[in-house]
Symmetry: C2
Subunit: 295 residues, 2 copies
């Protein structure tokens, strides 16, 4: 019987811990969320962030730029927040509206002050992670996955971790983090993606399999080794006529058919998602203490 | 019969190409090499860089700080070169002298102006590589390995590449580069290191095996799949009483016993080493054209 890695429960526990810590240190962490466009999923993610922020006494400000925001409006919003000493953390919610110059999204992330980049997406933060420097913000989803596994006493050191998906916000930074010489990391990591051949042959060798590609039920039991740990980062909306909404959330893993094989598995929803939010607030708190120390 | 991947020959060809390009564009690329400490191997590496620079008409200046250089002297040297408009590329030769604050080496690399960081070691350059941004300098050894394979018509796309060694200057950036959506990259990459378990089981699945750990003849034939491509980044000095010098260079791969198995293999010396130097001059040229364009 697989252990269900309950991210929702752990995120709630971490909220209590963080709330106490914030009260004890007397800090007043403030997070600014810049949102452009009108992506439906983003609305849900942002709402969850605001709810969790309130729980832990992080002050969160949502800056809505509207669906027709220009590149310069986004740049100006970030620049203003960089200059605002009362703001400790800044995130720009993805996806941004598609604009002619596709590289502008990179520019937006890279212009966030590295000390306020609590999503850890900027080149400088991810680069520090690569170089093994600890004075960086870890991307929230990788950080959340590591925390979820560690708190459930799952050891990654020396294990073979296979990650499917090389996105800049999950798969890529996770592959770097888990193979670093950090506590409970030190894993042998294989990064798979859309061009990988013989995928099942590779995933079947994984002690831990982490899937982040956004394809509903992509991973079936034939891809999983007996006793493996499975982490499902997928959040796909699929049709479900039995529900009033007409849809339900579903992961990248075919949970019903896979969980029998696993020693541990994350559910969707309630697995990785809440952990991402929890780590964002952890980073924002860290940013606030850092600024306090520096001043 | 394995193809010998002749890096020395290719580096010489690339020198001709680069020399022509520099003459054609009328640029005057200048590289500054900062050297502290008195590492014997560094002396050889730096000499090779100076020789190649001369061949391709890159002007190279060696700044020797001596073995007792302080942290501040190193910082000051880099700062002066950052400010010098005639200098297009700056490298700080590793290893630096061990100083009490171990993180100072990171600071030295990170303080090099990103537009002059032709070794590509700074957090910002490696971070851009992670994020798939192309306006960065690729670390010279990874770039050299990719070029050596590509010029020998070895396809990496979709192949399983296993890298042994996670150093910040070879294994780590190489693992990121080869799994990016770049030309002849797109490989499935596994990064192994000192904590990896069942190493031979993993390396035997590799279509291409790249070794960068600095252990003489570490990889024997039992670790290599028939028909694999093997790239040896090791440069180890081992005793050899038959030579006047009393020593010889030897790679991380047991060449004599492994090469029969391979479809292609790099020799040591004459494989990856010369390619690293060639790519450094390529990057320096790029830096010089960039500065020209910007001004």
């Amino acid at each position: 019987m697989a252990t269900i890695l309950d991210g929702k429960k752990l995120a709630a526990e971490l909220a209590e811990e963080l709330k106490s810590k914030i009260a004890r240190t007397g800090s007043r962490p403030k997070l600014a969320i810049v949102m452009a466009g009108n992506d439906g999923a983003s609305e849900i993610y942002v709402r969850n962030k605001l709810i969790y922020a309130k729980q832990v006494d992080v002050s969160a400000e949502l800056i809505r730029l509207g669906r027709s925001a220009s590149q310069n409006e986004i740049f100006d919003a970030v620049a203003a927040l960089n200059a605002d000493d009362t703001v400790h953390g800044i995130i720009v919610q993805s996806p941004l509206p598609p604009l002619p110059d596709r590289s502008y999204q990179d520019h937006v992330f890279d212009m966030i002050n590295a000390d306020k980049d609590v999503d850890g997406f900027s080149a400088i933060n991810i680069g520090k992670l690569c170089n093994g420097q600890r004075d960086c913000f870890l991307s929230c989803t990788p950080y959340g996955i590591l925390t979820l596994l560690t708190r459930n006493n799952i050891t990654l050191t020396g294990q073979h971790v296979v990650i499917i998906g090389r996105s800049r916000i999950v798969g890529r930074p996770l592959s770097i983090l888990l193979s670093q010489k950090f506590e409970n990391c030190n894993a042998t990591v294989t990064l798979c993606h859309s061009e990988s051949k013989n995928l099942a042959d590779i995933t079947k060798t994984a002690d831990a399999l982490i899937v982040a590609i956004g394809k509903p039920k992509f991973v079936g039991k034939e891809m999983v080794k007996d006793g493996a740990v499975v982490v499902d980062v997928g959040m796909n909306s699929v049709r479900d006529s039995t529900r009033a909404s007409g849809s339900k959330l579903c992961g990248d893993v075919d949970f019903d058919n896979v969980h029998h094989r696993c020693s541990a598995i994350t559910p969707v929803p309630g697995g990785v998602g809440p952990m991402t939010v929890a780590m964002l607030m952890q980073n924002t708190f860290q940013a606030s203490t850092k600024l306090t120390v520096d001043k």
